[in-house]
């Protein structure tokens, strides 16, 4: 029988409570020390006043923030129509790369070349080349819109990454699952669709979420070919006001979206790791 004290705690619990209190004190103390150091020491730097006026100008922030928020709607819209296309194309490329059918061998090569090329070129270059290049062939309006071709550049680039993640997911499903499906007389296509893919997709959701967080940020690259989304709008304000604060405002808006999404992806990832162990 374990001895308990008045509070009904075992000596192990009392010991652990003490440990927990101590580590909380230390963590709180060191956090406070770092915070104070930043708050006190940074403003003591000789250039702080200039930096503050250029980057953290409240007046400029208040004036530009609503318009930045308005411009961010365009980022969200571009994200919303690109993301489903990326999922579909990424999945198709992953399947093309996985195909064993010799008749589809060219597709497999094409899939490999596609992922190599689009993962190897900086996104902004793809945006330029496709955004200006294809319309330059002489397409009539509205088919030469930078929204269409800029989005396509994002879709092509991100599908390449997303395809690779899907493929790693497909390969992570044990071969025995495919054997079991085949031994039941299921076709290769049905094995993939009903047995392999559902498991593969579930496994890569956290990784894919990180890709889509990156996509939301990279939507800003479309500003290079004309669309006035938040990054360009902030740049316009920066130029007119000779002040970098609008960029800080834009960063705040991005963070408001990406931090919760990143946290959620991390949570899913941790949950999955727990389940698998």
């Amino acid at each position: 029988m374990t001895k308990t004290n008045a509070a009904g705690k075992t000596r192990r619990q009392i010991y652990e409570d003490r440990l927990r209190r101590r580590s909380m004190l230390i963590a709180g103390g060191s956090t406070l020390a770092v915070f104070l150091a930043v708050v006190i020491l940074v403003p003591m730097a000789p250039g702080w006043d200039r930096v503050k006026a250029s980057f953290f100008n409240w007046e400029v922030f208040a004036k530009t923030f609503p318009k930045l928020l308005e411009a961010f709607k365009l980022d969200v819209a571009i994200f919303l129509w690109s993301a489903p296309a990326i999922v579909i194309l990424g999945l198709l490329v992953a399947l093309a790369r996985d195909t064993r059918n010799p008749a589809l061998f060219p597709l497999r090569i094409l899939g490999a070349a596609y992922t190599d090329i689009f993962r190897g070129v900086p996104v902004v270059l793809t945006v330029y080349l496709i955004g200006f290049g294809i319309p330059g062939l002489g397409l009539p309006r509205p088919w030469n819109s930078p929204y269409i071709w800029g989005s396509l550049a994002l879709i092509l680039t991100y599908s390449a990454y997303v395809a690779e993640i899907f493929r790693s997911g497909i390969e992570s499903v044990h071969k025995s699952q495919r054997s079991a499906a085949q031994s039941l007389g299921l076709s290769d296509a049905d094995s993939m669709r009903y047995v392999i893919l559902p498991q593969a997709i579930r496994r890569v959701i956290p990784a894919q979420m990180n890709m889509f967080i990156a996509l939301q940020k990279d939507v800003a690259l479309l500003s290079f070919i004309g669309p006035v989304e938040i990054f360009r709008q902030a740049g316009v304000f920066k130029s007119l006001l000779a002040n970098f604060t609008p960029y800080v405002g834009a960063a705040v808006i991005f963070l408001a979206v990406t931090i919760p999404a990143t946290r959620y992806a991390d949570y899913l990832m941790a949950k999955q790791n727990r389940e698998r162990s």
């Binding site: 079991a180 039941l184 299921l186 047995v195």
Partner: protein, 243 residues
């Protein structure tokens, strides 16, 4: 004529010959047990019969028809030959019932509603009536393996292959799975087993084959093979296995 006939089946993985000229005949309704040390080629032989592996040489006949013909579509053959694996291989994202209904739905184009009574009967028969809507990770190893058997049976196969299906089970769960095999044998199913359960092989099999290094060293009725093994390799193996 025998249900399954193997003639000089050869299977290589690179330089490694796993089946080295295997001859075997399985009569309709017979239970044949393949015994031998790990790596003797038992599992590979079963996978070859189910066309999960292609063979380099030899023939595999099902009802006299060569199913090892290069270029033959394996899917219709696999529907006639069910297979159960050592590691169950249930689909973890589906309930037991969905696992069982998937292949009949896709291959025979039957609806869930049409299948439900039929498979409920199967689940009942194998003591799984209250486990139909559980996911695999909610089932014990023995229950999972029985669901895997039901899943193979739902395709109404003519032959069943069992690849060391009790090897991954805790000892106290082995019995419930072996009971299922007995039940199947009584119903007249043609079965080929790779197994380490010597007691079961001796009691239930119609024929036992001892494999070593990809060859059938000795085969015969269980009583003959277990009691009076002729080949020294068989004697050595049984001495170790029955210790």
């Amino acid at each position: 004529m025998a249900k399954i006939i193997l003639k000089g089946v050869e299977k290589r993985f690179g330089d490694n010959t796993v089946c080295d000229g295997i001859d075997l005949a399985v009569e309709e309704g017979q239970m044949v047990c393949l015994i031998g040390a790990s790596g003797a080629g038992k599992s590979t032989l079963l996978r070859c019969i189910n066309l999960l592996e292609t063979i380099e040489d030899g023939e595999i006949l099902l009802d006299g028809e060569d199913i090892s013909l290069p270029g033959l579509n394996p899917q219709p053959v696999r529907r006639r030959i069910g297979m159960v694996f050592q590691s169950y291989n249930l689909f973890p994202h589906m309930t037991a019932a969905e696992n069982v209904m998937l292949a009949p739905r896709r291959v025979y184009k039957k609806s869930r509603a049409a299948l439900r009574p039929e498979i409920t009967e199967l689940f009942k028969r194998f003591g799984l009536a209250d486990r139909m809507d559980h996911y695999p990770d909610q089932l014990s190893g023995g229950q999972q393996q029985r669901v895997a058997i039901v899943r193979a049976l739902a395709m109404k196969p003519e032959v069943m292959l069992f690849d060391e299906i009790t090897s991954a089970l805790d000892p106290q769960l082995v019995g419930e799975v072996l009971d299922v095999l007995r039940l199947l044998k009584d119903s007249g199913m043609t079965m080929v087993l790779a197994t380490h359960e010597m007691g079961f092989a001796r009691e239930a099999a119609d024929k036992v084959c001892f494999l070593k290094d990809g060859k059938v060293i000795e085969e015969g009725a269980p009583s003959a093979l277990f009691d009076t093994p002729k080949h020294p390799d068989t004697q050595a193996f049984l001495a170790r296995a029955l210790k």
